[in-house]
């Protein structure tokens, strides 16, 4: 009798007032809201929105329409094209690896530690995101060029020159692309629930174990997304590369440079090269979406089978947390789900 009374008395406040419930809106309610607003969207927003879509898509459509489909195979089999493509793939992959090795630790430091000048450092590190790449290229020349602040010593001591070499391409691309990875990973670390790290500590996990088994898996999707973003940015790098590394076929002429050059001499070749870049980017994008988009995850989750109804606030909080942060495990379930 008393228990019943207590239940009806204590139930409601627990559901509304506790932090677990306030973590995020209930998925069902959220999607309901979204549907509602979609119905009410006024033409004032529809019209400019549609124009934006046209503006963004038309150039791509134009590219597809004007592409020299018949001569495409011939154009793409040319040595210079293959050279540029391979160089691009190689350098952008190398600069992505560099970005991972140096960028992820930096992201962790920025997200998890506080020191004097933290805010300033964070702003400076992400400066290349907004800096015109050409300016980046010029700055790199001033520092790492043959007569640069560091470059001069590099050459006289080690006989090592960066500008106008393939390594220079990698440096230029890393300079421009690494901030994308840093921002992505740092954001995920900031928004990831640090109480999971507390939980790991109460289970006897030291710092390194926690980092390895909890922190990193929880932000794995962000690391993957940041890596892809970083790679794509490096692949498309133009300004810093041409300024710092020049435009030598075979050593520093990457795809974007080749496209630009071809446009002046052989427009068809330029279109063909652009198509290749477009195809590569679309492939990356599709691969990303299939793996990391919440929608697909929902399917995975449903496939995993949930026999019991998700119990209220907690289940909801857990679910949204996972949507934001589930890591390597997802690759796992995707792999097992694929063949079926």
């Amino acid at each position: 009798m008393t228990t019943d009374a207590s239940l009806s008395w204590s139930g409601p406040p627990a559901q509304t007032g506790e932090p677990a419930g306030s973590d995020g809106p209930h998925p069902a309610r959220r999607s309901g809201q979204r549907r509602e607003t979609r119905k009410r969207v006024p033409w004032v927003l529809w019209l400019p929105g549609s124009i934006a879509v046209l503006f963004l898509l038309l150039p791509l459509v134009g590219l597809l329409i004007r592409a020299p489909w018949t001569g495409l195979a011939h154009l793409l089999s040319e040595k210079s094209v293959r050279q540029a493509l391979l160089l691009s793939l190689r350098t952008s992959t190398e600069s992505t690896v560099l970005s991972l090795v140096f960028g992820v630790p930096l992201a962790w430091l920025l997200a998890r530690t506080r020191f004097p000048g933290h805010t300033l450092l964070r702003a400076l590190v992400t400066l290349p995101l907004v800096l015109p790449p050409v300016v980046g290229g010029v700055s790199l020349l001033l520092v790492l060029g043959r007569r640069g602040l560091v470059g001069e010593s590099l050459e006289s001591w080690f006989g090592f020159t960066l500008p106008f070499s393939t390594n220079g391409v990698v440096v230029a691309q890393t300079f421009v692309a690494m901030p994308f990875l840093i921002v992505s990973v740092e954001g995920a670390l900031n928004s990831s629930d640090r109480r999971f790290e507390d939980a790991a500590a109460t289970l006897g996990a030291d710092y390194w174990t926690t980092f390895r088994r909890v922190t990193v898996p929880l932000v794995a999707p962000a690391v993957a997304a940041g890596t892809a973003l970083c790679w794509a940015r490096a692949l498309g790098e133009f300004g810093a590369t041409i300024t710092f590394a020049g435009n030598f076929p075979g050593t520093t002429q990457t795809m974007p440079l080749a496209v630009y050059l071809a446009l002046e001499t052989d427009p068809d070749a330029a279109i063909a090269l652009s198509l290749v870049l477009l195809a590569v980017c679309v492939t990356v994008l599709v691969a990303l979406r299939a793996r990391w988009l919440p929608g697909t995850r929902l399917i995975t989750r449903l496939r995993a089978g949930r026999t019991d109804p998700p119990a209220t606030a907690t289940a909801t909080a857990d679910t949204s947390m996972i949507t934001a942060a589930e890591g390597g495990g997802d690759t796992h379930s995707d792999g097992s789900g694929g063949p079926r």
Partner: protein, 259 residues
């Protein structure tokens, strides 16, 4: 002995960690030094200052006793819990557990969280979302007791079975209901055989129907533990049903000895 045959202990005395019991028997002199709980329970005076807020409270929990700390949000319950778990150092006071000093600022002694024999069930359980239930439970065995992967999984499964969720070992936390997650979280906290179990609002994240079920479950399990149990809650009814004794907190201080 305990690690060699975990299942052998299971049916008769499911959740009772043998080591504390033996330690308690060995430290029989504990009775000479003081009253109940001095030797093998929790004895703490906790003083933590956070800005203008001051938590100053004394907590004593004997072995096998379940004590609830009752208070509204902002009363200092979470701070108390974090201090006991080792996630927050004391500003003054002293924490002694089973005869071991865990925190004493005057003696500059502080045992970090990962080295304390304290199990915690968090408010929303904080089961690692990327690990299956089995690996969530095995986590502590691997990191705290340094057990191998296979052995820790087997032991984790036996704990899950003990709590009636053995068939869910392969699930990830997202595919567990609130009540199931609670059981997995309890198994995870107990598997390393802690000498103190802390429960943070164990029922607040559940809906009404699940609450009854989980409350019944906890009421059955908690008294069988030999370790002292401390429950933090805002709900007087939870405190009354689950605990032997209640400490009421308000504004960082104990307000009245409970009945």
């Amino acid at each position: 002995m305990s690690t060699a045959r975990p299942e052998a202990n299971a049916p008769t005395d499911p959740t009772r960690p043998p080591t504390p019991g033996e330690a308690g028997a060995a430290a029989g002199g504990a009775d000479a030094t003081g009253g109940v709980g001095e030797g093998d329970g929790l004895d703490a005076r906790i003083v933590v200052r956070r800005g203008t807020f001051l938590l100053d409270v004394e907590v004593r929990v004997a072995r096998g006793e379940v004590v609830a700390v009752l208070g509204r949000s902002g009363a200092g319950k979470s701070t108390l819990l974090r201090a006991l778990a080792g996630l927050l150092p004391l500003d003054a006071g002293r924490i002694t557990l089973a005869g071991q000093v865990l925190d004493d600022p005057r003696e500059r002694r502080f045992v970090p969280c990962e080295e304390r024999p304290v199990g915690v069930v968090f408010q929303d359980y904080l089961l690692f979302p990327h690990l299956r239930a089995r690996d969530n439970v095995a986590f502590g065995l691997r990191s705290r007791l340094r057990q191998g992967r296979r052995g820790s999984r087997t032991e984790a499964e036996s704990w899950l079975t003990r709590f009636g969720v053995g068939d869910l070992a392969d699930r990830r936390p997202a595919a567990l209901s609130g009540g199931q997650a609670q059981r997995v979280a309890l198994a995870r906290a107990l598997v390393t055989r802690p000498r103190l179990l802390l429960l943070d609002e164990p029922l607040s994240a559940l809906d009404t129907s699940t609450r009854t079920e989980v409350r019944t479950f906890l009421r059955g399990v908690l008294p069988t533990l030999s370790a002292p149990v401390l429950i933090v809650t805002h709900d007087p009814m939870d405190a009354e049903v689950l605990a032997d004794r209640t400490i009421a907190l308000a504004g960082g201080h104990q307000i009245a000895p409970a009945v």
